[in-house]
Each structure stands twice: as C-alpha cells, then as structure tokens.
Symmetry: C2
Subunit: 159 residues, 2 copies
DNA sequence: TACGTATTATTCGCATACATACTATCCGCT
DNA sequence: AGCGGATAGTATGTATGCGAATAATACGTA
C-alpha cells in the first residue's frame, strides 16, 4: 500500500516518473537493438501484435486490440505501418464483412527467432546488476498495478 | 540479472510489455483524477516540468529538459501547451539571448498542493494491495534500469 | 421480416515523444 | 576584433496513443 505520509522529495522518488521514464528508455533501447540486428523496419510497437499472431495466426483486429491492450483506433494506424513494412496482411474477413482478417507474412513469421533473441539481449542489458528475485517482484508489482486499473475502470476481467 | 534461458510464454511475462502498459494506464488514471479535481487543463505530462519549477522557479528550457529527461525538441511543444493553459510564462532570458526563462504563473504555483494530493490519491489506488516493501523494490529496479540505459548510451552521469 | 442495438473498423483531431536540420547567440582563443 | 566551435531553442516530419464521431454490418427480438 502506498503510504499517504510519504513526501516525494526528488523526481526519482515518484513511481509514476520512474515507470514513464523507464518505459521510454526501454523502448528506445529496444529500437536501437532492432536497428542493429538487420531486421528491416521492425519497431518495438509491432511486438505486441506480432506476439499475438505468433501465438495464433489469423485474427480479427478487435482481438488483437484486446490482446495488446490498445484501442481499436490505435490498431488501425499500427496495422497500417505493419502492413506497409511487410509484417502482416490485412484482408476482409470471410464470415464477417465488418471484420478484418490479419495474417502474418513470411517476413512476419520469420522474424520471430531474431526478435526474441534481440528482446533477450536487450533485457539482459536493461536488468544488468539487478537480482532476479527483485526483477520478479517488480514484474508482480506492475501486473498488480495493471489489474488494479482494469478493476476500477469498469472493465470486466480483461477478456 | 535477466536469465537467458527464461522463455516468455505469455505477454504479461515480458517486462517490457509490463512497463509500457503500466505507464500508459498510470497516465490515463492520473489524467482522470486531474479531470475530476477541478484543475483546469492540468495534464500528467506537465508534472515533470512543474516539479522542476516548484523546486526552483525560473529556469532555462535546457535545464528543464535535462531535469525531466526529455529532448529539447519535446520541451518546445510541451511548454507551448503549458503556456497556453496558463501554468508558465516564457520570456527571453536577460543574460543569454539564446535562452528562454520559464517561470510559474500564479496558477502554476497554486496548483501544487492539489496536484500532490491527486498524485497521492492516484498512487494509493494504483498500489492497492501491494506491500510497501515490494513497491520500494520495484522502484529500485526501475531506477537501476534507467541508470543502466544512461550508462551505455554514452551519456555522462545525468547532469 | 423489420427494427433497434451492438459490434467492427476507420477517420479525425489532439497530445506526447523523438531525430534531424536549422537559426541565433555565446565563448574561447588567436 | 574576429573566427570557429559549442550551446539554446525552434521547426518539421514521423511514430505512437487516446477519444469522439462515423459507416457498415451483424444479430436479437417483436
């Protein structure tokens, strides 16, 4: 529980600052790692979508949005770029004429191993000098924050 | 240290996903809290700048950028909006004709107490059910991530 | 079957962030 | 004094994300 009486003296004592800054820096780092790995056009933001499709190829946009935790309006632009960069194809879904059927291209599928390796490498660098035990606690804290927000926004259990 | 042999099965086992998602959700939550507190036009992104100015009013843009960890080009737009919304004034600095002197308005100064209270309230909600001990560990992990990135980007010690 | 509602995706406007290129100014050194 | 490099800030283009409004389609129910 956050202690009401804790005074924030410096910026880096504020959890909100820490999470925001870490997020931006981790993204920038990942971007550089990708750039140096010879994968043309792969961006950190593509990862959540690729991840969903690697698990199960061929999904509707709305499914990807829910899986990635992004708004549908955000997915539109994201998929525009992913299509432009050759990672996915977007076709009208056969059963539902409202829906779009998103599928991996060969490039999108083939990039899996390298992307995972790059992610691993990046995480190794980012977590340098931090005991694994603390990394796992931090992950648990973040998961709880996420579920705390979902719980109070009137969302059902994130399905 | 991040274990190389750890396989990421689900998205929420990936620290990068957790930090990004938490960052977005925390920002959205803070935004809602501000909106409900009757402070006209206060946004989460303004906080870092206000924080720096609350500590010491009257700074150059470049100082604010360094303090906040943002690029100068980002500060330009941010200060445009903060000026527009009445939190700061931007005047040419007297000693250095290249520089801009950023100062709090009455509104910018007066919003301090409410903003801190709202931040406190938001953090209480976000950290619901998490032991303080774990929050502090998570904060330490994030600080270390941040310094790890700064350390390898060729930046000096964040001055 | 037809109507009303829900769902799916897109468009638009805005905010936030970066990199790059540019202008203006300052400062050290000759 | 003046030249060259460093510094401060802005402009521009792109990426990423949200919310509100819109269009098209699907579906339950009368």
């Amino acid at each position: 529980m956050w202690p009401r009486d804790r005074k924030l003296r410096k910026l880096d004592e504020c959890p909100y600052y820490l999470v925001s800054r870490a997020s931006l820096l981790m993204t920038a780092t990942l971007k550089k790692t990708f750039a140096g790995a010879g994968i043309r056009g792969l961006r950190p933001s593509y990862l959540v979508v690729l991840w969903c499709l690697w698990q199960r190829d061929g999904q509707k946009m709305i499914q990807l949005a829910r899986c990635a935790g992004l708004e549908p309006s955000t997915m539109t632009g994201l998929l525009d770029r992913m299509e432009r960069d050759g990672f996915v194809t977007r076709e009208p879904a056969p059963q539902d004429r409202r829906a779009m059927h998103i599928q991996l291209t060969d490039k999108g599928l083939g990039v899996h191993d390298t992307a995972m390796r790059m992610m691993d490498e990046t995480l190794s660098m980012l977590f340098m000098g931090i005991p694994l035990e603390e990394i796992d606690i931090a992950a648990r804290v973040l998961r709880r924050i996420i579920s705390n927000v979902r719980g109070t926004t009137g969302e059902s259990t994130g399905r």
